[in-house]
Amino acid sequence: MSNPSRNNPLLQRFIPEARELLQASAGGLLRLEKNPQDGPAINEVFRAVHTLKGSSGLFDATALTRLVHAAEDLLGAVRAQEIVLDSSLVDMLLDSLDQVSLWVDRLEGDAELPADADGVASRMASGLRARVASKDSPETATTADATLPAEAPPIWLHRLPVESLRVGFRRACRGATVLALCYEPDPGCFYAGTDPLQAALQVPEAMAFTIEAVAPWGPVADLDPYHCNLRFHILTDAPRTEVEQAIRYELDQVSFSPVSARDLVQIAGEPSDGPVWDDFYEAASAQYAAGDLAAIRASAATLRSFTGPGLWRNDALSWLEDAASATAPDHDLVRALIDAAGTGRFGGAGNSTVSATASGAPTTLLDGPNGAVARSILAGQRQALGKDGYDEIRLASVAAVVGNLLVGLGLDAQRHAFQQAIVDTHESRSTLPLLIFLDVLESGGTPDTLPPSDPLPSITSATDLPKAADLPKSTAPGPGPGPGPDGAARNAAPEVRAPQKTLKVEQAKVDLLMNLIGELVVSKNSLPFLAKRAEETYGSRDMSREIKEQYAVIDRLAQEMQGAIMQVQMLPVSDIFDRFPRLVRDLARKLGKQIDLSVEGEDTAADKTIIEALGDPLLHIVRNSLDHGIEQPEIREAAGKARTASLRLRARQEADGVVIEVQDDGRGIDPARIRAAAIEKGVIDADEAGRLSDQEAINLIYRPGFSTAHEISDLSGRGVGMDVVLTTVEKLGGRVSVTSRLGEGTTTRLTLPLSMAVTRVMVVEAADGVYGVPMDMIAETVRVPESRIQRIKRAEAFVLRDIVIPLMRMSTLLGVPARQRNSDEEAEEAVLVCQIDGRHVGLVIDDFREGMDVILKPLQGALAGMRGYSGTALLGDGRVLLILDLKELI
């Protein structure tokens, strides 16, 4: 189990589950940050982290488990409302989740964590734990009424050096009021001229003074020295007014907790045992009863002088001496310390290091390979029987378990005694006979040597109760006897809800299905060829017609199948939108901007390939908006805008496409500056720039030569890499448009096809070959008489419905000699009128052919780098069709 490998199916199951849980936790945390009262969110996050912790324990990933465990504890404290979830806490938790996510990636690749994982886990976990531990100091203690000594002492108290605690304890015993201070300066306080260390050192009569880091230290190079990351804990017995006076400027960042002597007790040392302690316990208890504190002190001092100084109980004696010599002794505390020295436990729990010894008597019955497990099962049955004595319901399963255990261990000889014990138990309405049987079984004696199973008289007193039902006979569940307090449970059963049926399928399987259907669509295309051959080669018109009829049916089915499988491939845009709240939040904090992100239409779905490819372009656009579009709050305020900028991510479905908009209300793009920069960059000349409309000028930012220019980025208000956005989106068959109003904001709109699985192309003949042209590029097809083609210098154009359309010859574009035209042929050119970047272009080709659906495959191998082609498609007759990329070509 502890040797995961690539072939470990359990690990393979774990990885997707872990990712899902991490995603759910991160999402929940962000919701919580917005609304800390979101109960379902905290439960969701807590549970996701909890499940992750449990599952991760199955693998050799202790560092991961440790970190997740720390996060779980912190979330537990948040859920219990012990600590408040603030932004810094969310940051820490998100960082931890990110780390875990990295480790999950590592597990997937290498089946083990990186070598530094332990160190990273300890550092991050202690950071998280520090927040759990400090839960009583900064947030809650300030609101608590400090005059009430009954409140729980701050947990950090026990992180103070024990010598300081001892000093405080003695002063408290002498009647001083000891104050515990936690001073957590505002992180930005250095800018206000505060020096927290100096301020903290002003606290008078400090008995303890400790400094700790609020968040764990990263590498020193990453440290922001002007961001205060320290917290101070101080113990003082100066009067509160004096303390307050000393740090009067920092009061709102200091919490005061009065602590009692008892709060300061911290006993440490090795466990020990022996009659001297029992003797002392007896003597001191008597002295306590007599109220003779001096005698107690003397007894303690004496015993302490001849027991080992490193012992826990010895240490307890020293605290006791101080407590007993107090000017105003706390009698309960003295009693508790006598108990501590006498029994090895202070306050009933917690501090004692004395470990409970397990009874390890060797036995005959329970020896063997299953012995240890059998013992723990038997111990469990004692607990399962409950504290309330005879309970018919509890008895049933315990009897079944013990019976099964005897069978499993092969202890047939004991079964009779066991059945007798059960009968006696029911008759006496007491668990005693069964408990005795268990005792005997555990201690290795023979249950047959049990005392006669006469029920004890004191127990049979309950005979007026109804007799017990039949003994449980076997583990096989049968209909129960009926009477019993189980009516309520019955009613609960109908609450069972039908779970939503979803099936998780590997992406590869869907891809395969998709490919197969693609092949089907393509093979189906061969039927018209077959029909043609049937008619032309074999002269059978009937056969040809029948094939065409069959083709129509198969065509319809194939299209429906394609539609259905495309539905499977559809993902909601929330898949990418979900990253943005976190991203925007982090970036905004980093940039010191205030941004309100709103997301609309996240249910809008599109093909998975599109959704997945869209992440990066969107990221660019959003980042640019944050970096350059949205102003600092002060600038906004000065411009008469709200300090908080709004950033909207919207998705909606339109016709057969998806529209995604990123809209900000930032400073907008200045067309004049764009023009100037474009001229300077040599992207366009001054004349051209003058002719551009504002909108056209804005569009310039997507010109490769323009937007990759670094020095432009700040001028334009848009950053680098916008041409990348354009390229990606256009590869997906989409469009990008930007509208902007200076001073009011910018909207970037991406329009994408719903699916890119199937492309409709028109097959054209040109330059001695057959090519495919994507249908969405083609505005119309016209045949233009030679006479109507006008030549302006070397360029050609024709007029179509009063619009001059430039003409280009495909043969020229492809670098192939133009087809020789027969002289008798009618002088007419086939022209594809295409729409490219909003402009119309006429492409002269040899002839039009049919339109068809194809599965577009990107160019591969030697062809991969070829310009002018967007891919290939397989034709029904087995030939490969090259699909032209007109944008590149022209």
Binding site: P161, Q198, T210, I211, A213, A221, P225, C228
Partner: protein, 83 residues
């Protein structure tokens, strides 16, 4: 000059103020085995203290001022011991 850097050692002298923080940070970024001498230090700004804490220098000579030494040395040496 409150912060004096001599090769791999930085000496704190007198009252060291917040303005020195970036220089100190740069020093730790530059020097592989940095040493810190606080002997002559009469006081240091919190910003410097946290740079020291984050940098975990190989050795720190404590301030001769006992109050300051008591206040900061357990913190600084505790951090070193943790890792």
């Amino acid at each position: 000059m409150p912060l004096r850097i001599a090769r791999t050692t930085v000496h704190f002298e007198g009252h060291c103020s917040v303005e020195e923080a970036l220089d100190l940070q740069a020093f730790f970024g530059r020097v592989k085995v940095p040493k810190v001498v606080l002997t002559q230090c009469a006081g240091l700004h919190t910003a410097l203290l946290q740079v020291l804490a984050a940098a975990r220098p190989a050795s720190i000579a404590p301030p001769s001022d006992p109050t300051l030494a008591q206040a900061i040395m357990p913190f600084l040496s505790g951090i070193g011991a943790d890792r």
